[in-house]
Amino acid sequence: MNARFKTKFKLSTIGWIFILPATLLLLLTKFWPIIRALVLSFQSGVGLNTSFVGAKNYIRMLHDNLLHTSIFNTFFYLLLQVPIMLIIAIILAVILNDSRLKLKGFFRTAIFLPCATSLVSYAIIFRSLFARDGFINLILMKTNIINNPINWLSSPWPARIVIIIALTWRWTGYNMIFYLAGLQSIDPSIYEAAKIDGASAFTSLRKITIPLLKPMILLTSITSISGTLQLFDETKNLTNGGPANSTISISQYIYNLSFAYSPQFGYAAAVSFLVLIMVAILSFTQMKVGDRR
């Protein structure tokens, strides 16, 4: 009894020692700042002169029109872009998983490659593609789809659409990799059986692939949603939040509050916690909805 306890104790101590450095680093670099930010979110004032104001910052968010605009924009990206991207990613993954397809490696790399580009440089390339005299307008004009160039980034709705296109281009390949990995673990004999039973490609996608990929879909939608809620690089570099704040994201608003405007770190921290709460709620509901065993 005593010996068994000793070994158990020894094993768990070794385990603890192994995870200790990572845990300490995590506590120090992640959790400590989060706690400090929480304290900060109850303070107010400009620059260095701050004082405790209770929940004033949180109440203030209710009346902040610019914050409401940024929340609207972010959720617009979220509701439109995440489903489109994930559906395309599944379809691509299924196509690329087909054993009859040639040059599979090439296509996989090509679709994944956008993901390896820097966020800033791809945003700048999209900006020039969608310029008034850019490539996209040129193509649309030459093919007579439009007569006058569309000023994509200077009109609210086209600008939002461009951001969605850019996000989809950048992140679809990333999610596709997860689905490809998931598809590897599905036994091909299930598909063969379905084929013998006369199931069409669409039926087997709907009845076999998607249910079996559920854990992966859950994972990718949580990471995509939390990623979109923290969207910054794309809006900052593509449109800088304009025109008239119609593409500004919550993170960019937080940045503006802290660095572009007279710094209001207390309020900025409070807005950050709003994002945290939103991510938590969305992830929790998804886990509940997705995890019906």
């Binding site: 260095l48 610019l66 490696g105 000023n151 590897q184 704040n245 007279s262 710094p263």
Partner: protein, 434 residues
């Protein structure tokens, strides 16, 4: 299959790791050498061909009398200067700050008001501020204390393509000392005859409207009170801007590169902003001898309206956390506030036009500039600078500018002017926490 996938994943991991290594080393580059020894100074500024060059030339001049003097310029883009300053001061890690930094005039009052103890009050430092253009001194004055040594001029100019004007039957003199209504009248005519618009601007950028505002000697604040929806000069300036856009004599583009591209490629026959734009105007050598410079139009029917204004520009600040404050002040005093030679040296290559009065006597200021039909542009611009109305940009300048930019975009797309400006006003008030 799995192997291929894992190779792909490893490649992706390596790429991201390489990416982060790149950023990490960049950060290190910016941080080094912030601790200066007794006779060395560290400076943050951002443009190799402009202010960094000027700083290094200033060091050479100072070294003649102080052979031990060393200057370490750390190239820091303006956005980084602002974020580094904010983080260093608010976290109390002031050891990372330099001895001198260059600050955009737009942000000067904001930073000094928010961090009053971070910058040295230069009012009684022995630097003679009366020799600088007074509008620049006004911009670096907070609570009647002067904090900044003015550097480059933001004096507003109208630069126009004389060959295009000629085709339409005009000369540069038709644009001198005129009003905005006359400008629009001529611009429409030029557009009709040549199909070339005279101006361009970045969509959503309030620069042009703010320039008109300062030309009438007012700003978005009157004392501590917001002065937006009841500011006649602002209402007029927005009307002018909307008419420029609607009559198509001004083309709106999306970003800075495209803006510079409009006149470099000849799609637009002019530029109207701070005189620092002249460096970009000269980028296309084919247009040599086809440009000329004059002052800006003035607002019609507005009290105190002038043909002079300022856009952009920057000033040197000394940090009070520096161990070599006295050296920093002496250095700035003997160079940027005391050396005609310095301004004369940097003028031809950098086009950095001085705001220090005596600099105008330097021989290079009399150069008849080939690119501008032999016009003595530097002398002209120094003259304009003497007439720029004094205003104070204030602590909430960025908030107000952003709100006005938003309002302009909305007004152009059809929102009622009064409503859009009321909204702008309430946005700024909200940002101010009122």
């Amino acid at each position: 299959m799995k192997r291929k996938l894992s190779v792909l994943l490893i490649v992706a991991m390596l790429v991201t790791m390489l990416g982060s290594c790149g950023t990490a080393s960049n950060n290190k580059g910016g941080k080094n050498n912030s601790k200066s020894s007794g006779n060395a100074l560290t400076v943050w500024c951002w443009d190799k061909n402009f202010n960094i060059y000027a700083m290094n030339e200033a060091a050479k001049i100072y070294q003649k009398d102080h052979p031990d003097f060393k200057l370490n310029v750390v190239e820091t883009p303006w956005d980084d200067v602002q974020t580094k300053l904010t983080t260093a001061v608010t976290s109390g890690q002031t050891g990372t700050l330099p001895d001198i930094l260059l600050m955009q005039d737009n942000a000067l009052a904001k930073n000094i008001t928010n961090y009053p103890k971070t910058f040295v009050d230069l009012t009684n430092s022995g630097i003679d501020f009366s020799k600088f253009a007074q509008y620049k001194v006004a911009l670096s004055t907070v609570n009647s204390k002067v904090y900044g040594v003015p550097f480059d001029s933001g004096t507003a100019v109208t630069a126009l393509r004389t060959d295009v004007l000629q085709k339409a039957g005009y000369t540069i003199n038709d644009f001198k000392n005129i009003t905005w209504s006359r400008f629009i009248e001529i611009a429409k005519d030029v557009l009709k005859k040549t199909n070339i618009p005279l101006l361009s601007s970045q969509a959503g950028s309030p620069d042009l409207v703010m320039m008109m505002l300062q030309s009438a000697g007012t700003w978005t604040f009157k004392g501590d009170k917001l002065y937006i929806s009841d500011n006649p000069a602002l209402l007029k300036a927005i009307d002018v801007y909307v008419e420029l856009v609607k009559s198509k004599v001004l083309v709106e583009v999306n970003n800075w590169d495209q803006y510079v591209g409009t006149f470099n490629t000849g799609k637009v026959a002019g530029a109207m902003t701070g005189c620092w734009i002249l460096a970009s105007v000269q980028a296309n050598k084919d247009q040599k001898g086809k440009w000329a410079v004059t002052n800006i139009p003035k607002l019609d029917g507005i009290e105190n309206a002038t043909n002079y204004s300022s856009v952009g520009g920057s000033s040197w600040l000394v940090l009070s956390t520096s161990k070599n404050k006295d050296l920093a002040i002496d250095f700035l005093g003997k160079t940027f506030a005391g050396s005609t030679e310095l301004y004369n040296t940097i003028l031809p290559t950098s086009s950095a036009i001085a705001t220090w009065g005596p600099a105008g006597t330097g021989s290079n200021y009399e150069i008849a500039h080939e690119f501008f039909e032999g016009q003595k542009i530097f002398q002209d611009i120094v003259e304009y600078g003497k007439n720029v109305p004094k205003v104070s940009y204030g602590v909430y300048n960025y908030e107000a500018r952003d709100a006005i930019g938003t309002a302009i975009t909305k007004i152009i797309s059809g929102t009622d002017k009064a409503a859009a400006l009321k909204e702008a006003e309430s946005t700024v008030k909200f940002q101010m926490g009122k």
